[in-house]
């Protein structure tokens, strides 16, 4: 085992991690630990764009953007945080441009902007052009540009280092961050990184669903490690289903396709969104569009022999426009479906996409230990975190924004903290937990297969905890997950080696997914209302009296070592906007 010492350690090198690293490296001795090479991070898969009220192509301002974010999030958004997001959006786009990001341009050479779901002019009057974009590879360009800026800044990376534990230690009765434990993929060796400040930027956890736009590696390692150490997870029941995933595969086709004029149609060719959201139609927020699609399917208007999907129709758009604005997604249709989007509509279905919930933080990125206190030295930003700027439903283009605004804030806050704080002593045998876990898995001789348990987990989540939920389906999911967690104890991995043991890592990742799926389902069962991405058929209305508050889930362990989930709630921060009915 090796021990390293840094002022600031950042876990993750996606958009949030690298944006934090650029700031932290300027201010403190910083290391970035990442399980993937930085440019492999899933930020690179983002397509449509990044919101900012630049007003380059039409009138717009940050207040409208704040309002849309709050309303889009079905009033579960912390409004102070949403205001920061919308205000700092403008500089964060301009910062990226200055780092070299090749945005698409208007005829006068400014950054071009396009429409996206839920972003409107003057509090809902009509769609507004707010999304700054680089063709349909905006995330790719953000990831490349941030990596380039990291190379320029000399950021120190530990590539293919899997962080498996976060170390906290009590000082004068306060739990503080003291380090992380990582497994070096190439050698199988354990490393302890002692740090004054730690920023988690390890991304989402969408791989517990089967049809998902998420990468295989998005397994919520950060959330799960924190949860195990008693840190609460906020609003985990709110998971976003993006309306347009490639049928059965889940590969995303950006909402920018509808921003460019694409239309959703059912088997009769009807533009059904006109019935559900008469004003902004196909550009309604994602939760509404996904429910509308499933309603069409349930009522027999789905397409195909099993009537299990609908179409994204781009055929009325000029091929030049598709080539210039949507080259990647049209190629996905050609590669994976053998379809020519110039002439044929594309079969789509909602796909698991984005975790609104995560590690609770304040607007400085500090992680909360409970409703009021922070854990000194521990920070989080990006999809792993819950600030909460997305509330019950994230608007498209607000996540690339989130990772830049709050990645930067967390990087600055962490490094500033590190410049005045002392190192917190490492706990005794800091690597003990991870070493035990790794040895246990390597030596395990059970008969259960990781891939079977993962498949069954994904199946029950797709079936029971997706767009439509009831007490019955969620109870079924909860029981099945409990059974799968039991079976997990009887797994074995075939690869007993040390070098690049991805077999072992998949087993660890599955453990994380099981823990987080349970949190999602338990939180969802308790939320007896429908809000944003969480829709309960047995409680179809939003209930502001009882549920306009954030869920805080804690892991509790009893004297016999059995764990359970305890739920608590945290008030929503309300500033300018009173809750109103969410109509579009």
């Amino acid at each position: 085992m090796q021990i390293h010492k840094y002022d600031t350690v950042i876990v993750g090198a996606g958009g949030a991690g690298m944006r934090a690293a650029i700031e932290a490296t300027k201010r403190s001795r910083t290391a970035v630990l990442t399980k993937l090479y930085p440019t492999r991070s899933h930020t690179g898969a983002a397509q449509g764009g990044m919101a900012a009220a630049l007003a380059n192509v039409e009138e717009d301002n940050w207040e409208w953007h704040t309002f849309d974010t709050v309303k889009g999030g079905d009033f579960l958004v912390d409004q102070d945080a949403a205001e920061i997001l919308a205000k700092e959006a403008i500089d964060s786009v301009l910062d990226l441009e200055k780092m070299g990001l090749p945005f698409n341009r208007t005829p006068d050479g400014t950054i071009d902007q396009r429409r996206f779901g839920g972003h409107t002019r003057n509090h809902g009057e009509a769609p507004v052009r707010r999304s700054c974009y680089a063709a349909d590879r905006t995330g790719h360009m953000i990831l490349q540009t941030l990596y380039q800026a990291c190379v320029k800044e000399g950021v120190e990376f530990y590539n293919e280092f899997y962080v498996l534990d976060v170390l906290l230690n009590e000082v004068d009765g306060v739990r503080k961050a003291s380090g992380v434990v990582a497994l070096e993929l190439a050698t199988g060796e354990l490393h302890v990184f002692q740090a004054k400040a730690i920023v988690f930027a390890s991304g989402g956890n969408g791989k517990f669903y089967k049809v998902s736009s998420n990468a295989h590696t998005l397994t919520g390692d950060g959330q799960a490690a924190a949860f195990r150490r008693g840190i609460p997870l906020e609003d985990m029941e709110f998971f976003q289903f993006h309306p347009t995933g490639i049928w059965k595969m889940g590969i995303l086709l950006t909402e920018g396709a509808r921003g460019e004029g694409g239309i959703l149609r059912n088997k009769d060719g009807e533009r059904f969104m006109e019935r559900y959201a008469p004003t902004i139609k196909d550009l309604a927020p994602r939760d509404m569009v996904s429910r509308s699609i499933y309603t069409e399917i349930r009522e027999g208007r789905g397409c195909g022999p099993d009537a299990d999907h609908v179409y994204l129709d781009l055929t009325h758009l000029p091929p030049e426009q598709l080539d210039a604005k949507l080259p990647d997604i049209t190629e996905f249709a050609r590669t994976y479906l053998g379809i020519e989007p110039y002439t044929d509509p594309i079969p789509i279905q909602p796909t698991a996409h984005y975790a609104m919930g995560g590690m609770p933080t304040n607007v400085r990125g500090e992680v909360l230990a409970n409703n009021t206190d922070v854990i000194p030295g521990l920070y989080a930003a990006g999809e792993v975190a819950c600030v909460s700027v997305h509330g019950a439903n994230r608007l498209g283009t607000n996540s690339l924004l989130d990772i830049n605004v709050f990645g930067r804030r967390a990087g600055i806050a962490a490094a500033e903290y590190a410049s005045t704080a002392d190192f917190v002593e490492l706990p005794e045998n800091p690597e003990e937990f991870v070493a035990g876990q790794v040895e246990m898995l390597r030596d395990a001789t059970g008969t259960e297969r990781v891939s079977d348990i993962r498949r069954e987990l994904q199946e029950t989540m797709d079936k029971n905890a997706m767009v439509f939920r009831t007490s019955e389906t969620l109870t079924e999911a909860r029981d099945e997950i409990a059974a799968l967690r039991e079976r997990y104890k009887g797994i074995s991995v075939q690869d007993k080696g040390r070098r690049f043991n991805t077999d072992l890592l998949e087993a660890i990742e599955l453990g994380n997914l099981l823990d987080l799926a349970e949190v999602l389902v338990v939180s969802a069962l308790a939320r007896k209302e429908s809000r944003g991405g969480h829709y309960r058929e047995d409680y179809p209305d939003r209930d502001d009296v009882n549920f306009m508050r954030h869920t805080m889930a804690y892991r509790e362990v009893d004297a016999d070592g059995n764990d359970s989930i305890r739920l608590d709630y945290k008030p929503v921060v309300q500033t300018r906007y009173q809750p109103m009915e969410r109509k579009y």
Binding site: T110, A186, Y336, T502, D503
Partner: protein
């Protein structure tokens, strides 16, 4: 309410029904913890030919042999993790459908060439990323920063559009015979990324990058075999980009 008729939708979607066939995957295995020698191993599996090669690798790993080791993440050709030699050609496993490979015959899979194999399909990417970092892959400007964005005409933006698509998967570099013979050569991917900045109207370090590429291990080593262009999963015209850099070195105009 607008209604449009959607024509021949089902033909397009090919019904999506699954028909499995039996396919042999002949995979180059190497694990120095077990043996110093690499060897070929056959796996015979039943799989729908409309699936990706990556799906087949997963099926083998998950159901037959957990020790089979490869990198992957996004599974749709955007992260650059899974470049490998499939039937002798560099491709991304996640962007290659089995049906496009003549699955009646064994499909061979091995690590990309020219970089040290560490285990099975995993190679040491460090020399590749070092060459990338050596060409100053970042925007260099001087003078005061504007308060808002730098302006750039749509035409100037278009000038380097093609080379911004690179996902650093190394399919091009590891398909280049010059790179196989001489690991010191920068390789096509580094030159593509230099091109991305040399031809960006906002950048001011073009001369410096050209000097770097004028080196003995630089752009002149390219023998224009077009392997790189054929290998690029993003459809970048790599050879053309290299030719443009050579041209810029001669004329010093870019």
């Amino acid at each position: 309410m607008s209604t449009a008729t959607v024509e021949k939708p089902e033909a397009a979607a090919d019904n999506g029904a699954s028909h499995k066939i039996t396919v042999t995957f002949r995979i180059r295995r190497f694990n120095p913890e077990v043996s110093a020698e690499a060897s070929w191993q056959d796996f015979v599996i039943d799989i729908d030919p409309k699936e990706r090669v990556l799906d087949a690798l997963h099926q083998i790993k998950w159901e037959e042999d957990g020790t089979l080791t490869f990198r992957r993440s996004c599974a749709h050709g955007i992260c650059g993790s899974d470049a490998m030699r499939i039937n002798g050609r560099n491709r991304l496993a996640c962007k290659t459908l089995i049906k496009d490979l003549n699955p009646a015959k064994p499909i061979s899979i091995e690590a990309i060439k020219g970089l040290t194999v560490l285990k099975d399909l995993i190679v040491d990417m460090e020399p590749f990323f070092q060459a990338y970092r050596d060409v100053m892959p970042f925007l260099v400007t001087s003078g005061n920063e504007p308060t808002r964005e730098r302006r750039q005409s749509a035409a100037d933006r278009e000038r380097f559009d093609d080379t911004t698509k690179c996902i650093l998967c190394a399919a091009c570099t590891s398909s280049c015979p010059v790179f196989w013979n001489d690991g010191q050569y920068f390789g096509p991917a580094a030159i593509v990324n230099a091109h991305r900045f040399i031809f960006d109207s906002r950048d001011e370090a073009g001369e410096q990058r050209l000097e770097i590429l004028n080196d003995k291990d630089g752009v002149w080593r390219c023998r224009t075999t077009f392997n790189c262009t054929d290998a690029c999963p993003r459809g970048i015209e790599v050879t053309k980009a290299i030719a443009e850099v050579k041209q810029a070195l001669i004329t010093r105009r870019f």
